[in-house]
Subunit: 638 residues, 2 copies
């Protein structure tokens, strides 16, 4: 098998971008962990300027302003930064993804003409000031106000209460000169909901008049990013500072918008920013890949305890417990890599220059981004934690990269949308689609539909029965069987939660009580939906791959699918989807697959194609960690 | 209910020690996270000297040398340090627990007379140099040598290969003047296995002749501890440097030991050091308690998203998903607190001055310490991670304590014995006891015993059937039912793994293959054993408590037990222990208990009695994080 063909499969649609980023990455060597916070911030700023010179960040912007309109490419290149310094990834994400992205997507030519070129080149550094101390997840109810003063034709930006302080804002504490500030727009005595405004916050290092800036201080990780807090007191910006793609205020203060419904307008504005979540999911994926590469390579060279038969010490990756720790995570990392590439491709299709707007597809993408961001970042947290432990004391030393990977990515699960809130958002969208299906049905059809639901379990069992082997049950390695189990669970959970929530639609119902009692069910339905789309993406990715690598990828896919099914096997048993013998066979198959894939583990991590300079560390090179001399054999048993 | 009675129950047998440590802790305020590594090390050294002045560390040493012989008390006081700066906890643990403990326990009066007083007072700082780069877990095969030279009556300490370098040694990089060095003892041409030697490594800041010291550098956490590496080249120490409680070398080089078998001698020496593991388990418990206190108090004051019925924003702890995240972890933290206190009491009974040696009880304690250390530290890692996420962005800021808690305790799962290796050790001891039971049986009895095993599942089901309510199945809140389920699983797993490993005892068997195929089973058996002892400790702890707090503690115990059963419900279903309806009832009961305990959550964390100065942070005090103003109601459903 040609290892390059495996890498090509993983590299996906923007393989060329990955190649070019890999070449450029060599100049961005890791920072000394002993740098002080201010030194580290200065260094990351320097790296960011170097990154601007490579032209990578320009890739995503509109060709009219010197970009390439390669929306998928820029997100792919951003992801690859996850192999390196994650502070650079996040600071670059704030500058070009969030700040630059908001100006491009929410602004119009008056903003583009003036700012886009400077933003791309890193001449104008900016912030994305959305989150407030009091309202992190519930952005629709943030409290900062932008009140239009028709006399001066200015908006006046104010922080009306301590909780309305903008918080955790990247680029704010040190470097940002301007911010896209999200605030409740007030004009002619009416509030029109959240809008975005371009507000200068600092010039030559000094805060602008009326702007108070403070520093979030030391953080668990990402200390190369200058997160800060902003409060505004009567800060005046011209009427044109409103990013007015979706709504505008006339000179006399008259408000107008192409989207009449305030809620829909808010979600449309927010939706254009989906790229941030997609990028975070991708960055998490890169970090998980890097952690696994370190842990697998270490586990191949590290030996501990002698085999009684030979007296030779055993490589720790030969132990079942160690395989169990690392290889299912590796398989899922593969699955998520394909799912991510699919999501980026869909985003590219919808957002590339000249794309036809497709509201339904855009909403589906937002749902998918919410779900995949949650699942990918939790997966990264768990994977990096496991890899750190799998490298023992060496994994705790900063020289071996794992501490920074863990600390820097830890916030991914709660920024760009808290994972629990995101899964809830996905579930609500799924329920909406489900509800529409139900509402479109005639009374007769509805009765039939609900009747079908009642026999749903039976129907699904029958479906599964069709692929059961008489006398042996389900074959754990049957792709159709895996698909049926994973997708069934998703469908069943969604239908169940829809039934549980239906009473909330009645007048006078205890909406909160009904919703809250079903919240864990709702979140599980969302997670199961993501499981299905990830599985499907992996299967499709294998089909697109060179035939010579499909057999190996197929086994990785088996391991991914079966470890997902194994994780949820209590549910399958409770719902009569698996017999107890079948459930135990799943566990056996996971063990067997770990043993089968163990000889390929090194190849599988090498195919991520992480540049060696970003992996180099004593963990992988120090000869002292390798022990190959013989030992007297200890008794393993008894 | 009197909250103090709840705290008294948790405080356990050494409540007085806790009270005195709480009072003294006020002077050890948290370190500025922006301190450089060297500044932080200097600060922790200063704190350590202040700690020595409190007399707490003396508590554990023998009364002959100015201590109090209060073995349980000193471990309890060490645990309480876990509320504060964990670098101080670890550095103190190295100095008084490991270094001082080794001198006391492995040495004899010649060492005690010369060193103990200086060690207690912190005048002589030392290291515990066991782990080598090449052999972390497999300590029995470490490579450092101590070769006796009869001519000069000295031992010559050598690092014969790069992998024999002592690694991750606390107190080595900066402050330690002496080390207890573990090395293979060689005399008269024979090797006698691992022994401990007192070796001077530094004087007035300069490494001793032949000793090379390097720095492990920056770590994920615990940067106030100066971990380093030691290599020895022909370092000569007098014959008396051997810590000779269990073995000695005469002037002429003749080796003698009170324990003939080399393996048994090694494990006896190692076993005396069980205190380290017990202390780490306790420190992890304190850290988990602190994280939960922060997260629960935050979740009570933090509100997000309005209730449609009232327009008032909902406290995040009122959401089921949030309760599900925090409250089962809180319940298990309670359970582990009681289990820890029991373990400390047993250690005290066995190790207090004048205790009668009891080899079997000591071995059981070592098993228990191995298991509880693994379970408690994994629990802490998971709990702190969950609490960090439950506090969102605020949980990522160092000012709010959670980042240091996470980073500092992360290594607990792999130091003082890697958790996986420790569970394996426990399992092997359990199997040994099991094997002895089997081997003591006559042929007739054995046949009956094995016959019983074959019908084991049936027998257990019958046992469970006796407590089933006709038509309703098992009552999830039946204490007897919980006990039967948890203990059954442990027994069944152990019997099963014994059966699987039996073929390995045959001559010529593929020992490694058989062992490795059962490794996951083995580890699960060990974990299940710990589940049982933790459950039993909680139940016993409730019985010892004031009657007025038993009802509440009972519900916490229900939540702990049922979340353990819920976690493993696939196993219970697969093994016919739970019906599908009963399994689903377990999940319902966990949800109900979360809702029932939610109003008591604050009381439950306050009962840990963590001093307020160690909790104080913006997360708990910043009014900006609290939002109580009304919001228009968003649609929760549809």
């Amino acid at each position: 098998m040609n290892p390059e063909l495996l890498q090509r499969s993983l590299d996906g649609r923007w393989a060329d971008v990955r190649t070019s980023v890999r070449e450029q990455m060599a100049r961005f060597t890791p920072a000394d962990p002993d740098l002080s916070r201010e030194e580290y911030r200065a260094r990351v700023l320097e790296l960011m300027r170097a990154l601007a010179k490579t032209g990578q960040p320009h890739r995503g912007f509109s060709p009219e302003y010197g970009g390439e309109g390669d929306v998928g490419g820029v997100v792919t290149s951003f992801q690859a930064l996850g192999y390196g310094d994650l502070s650079l990834l996040v600071k670059a994400g704030v500058q070009w993804g969030l700040f630059g992205g908001a100006v491009q997507v929410l602004g119009t030519s008056r903003h583009h003409d003036e700012y886009l070129r400077k933003i791309m080149d890193g001449e104008l550094l900016g912030c994305f000031a959305m989150t407030e101390t009091g309202h992190g997840s519930d952005v629709q109810h943030l409290r900062t106000t932008a009140t239009y003063d028709a006399d001066s034709q200015e908006f006046v930006i104010d922080t009306p209460e301590p909780g309305a302080r903008k918080d955790y804002i990247g680029n704010a504490a040190r470097d940002g000169e301007m911010a896209v500030v999200f605030a409740q727009l007030v004009t002619q005595g009416s509030t029109h909901g959240v809008h975005a405004f371009l507000v200068p916050i600092r010039r030559d290092g000094t805060p602008a008049a009326g702007v108070t800036i403070s520093d979030c201080g030391h953080k668990a990780g990402l200390n190369g990013v200058d997160n800060g807090r902003l409060t505004f007191s009567g800060v005046r910006v011209p009427r044109e500072a409103l990013l007015n793609r979706f709504a505008d205020v006339a000179e006399d203060g008259t408000y107008s918008s192409s989207i009449e419904n305030e809620g829909r307008r808010f979600f449309t504005m927010l939706g254009t920013l989906v790229r941030g979540r997609i990028s975070v999911a991708g960055g998490a994926g890169s970090a998980a890949q890097k952690a696994l590469t370190l842990a697998v390579r270490y586990a191949e060279r590290r030996r501990q305890f002698a085999d009684p038969a030979t007296g030779q010490e055993t490589a720790i990756l030969d132990y079942r417990a160690h395989q169990r720790k690392l290889l299912p995570l590796l398989a899922t990392t593969y699955a998520l890599t394909y799912a991510q590439d699919d999501m980026v491709a869909e985003m590219h299709r919808l957002q590339k220059p000249g794309a036809t707007p497709d509201e339904k597809a855009q909403r589906d993408l937002e749902s998918r981004a919410a779900g995949l961001k949650a699942v990918s970042t939790w997966h990264a947290t768990r994977t990096i934690q496991t890899c750190r432990e799998a490298c023992g004391g060496a994994g705790y030393l900063s020289e071996n990269h794992l501490p920074a990977l863990k600390a820097d990515t830890d916030v991914f699960t709660t920024f760009e949308g808290d994972n629990t809130v995101l899964l809830q958002l996905l579930a609500k969208n799924l329920l909406g689609d489900y509800g529409k299906t139900v509402s479109r049905l005639s009374k007769v059809d509805l009765a039939r539909f609900l009747g079908e639901q009642a026999v749903d379990a039976v129907a699904e069992r029958t479906g599964l029965n069709r692929i059961r082997i008489p006398g042996r049950g389900l074959d754990p390695r049957s792709r159709a069987g895996q698909r049926a189990l994973i997708a069934d669970r998703s469908d069943h959970l969604l239908a169940g939660v829809a039934r549980r929530l239906r009473p909330a639609l009645k007048k006078g119902a205890d909406q909160f009580g009904i919703f809250n009692a079903a919240q864990d069910h709702l979140l599980e339905a969302a997670r199961a939906h993501v499981d299905t789309l990830v599985f499907d993406a992996f299967v499709a990715g294998i089909k697109r791959s060179d035939p010579s690598v499909r057999e190996l990828l197929g086994r990785v896919c088996d391991l991914h699918a079966l470890s997902v099914i194994e994780r949820d096997r209590a549910w399958y048993l409770e719902h009569g989807r698996l017999t107890t013998a079948e459930s135990r066979a799943v566990t056996t198959a996971v063990n067997d697959l770990c043993a089968e894939l163990r000889p390929h583990a090194r190849l599988l991590v090498d195919a991520f194609g992480i540049p060696e300079p970003w992996l180099a560390c004593p963990l992988l090179s120090d000869p002292a960690a390798e022990t190959t001399t013989e030992n007297p054999a200890p008794a393993l048993v008894g």
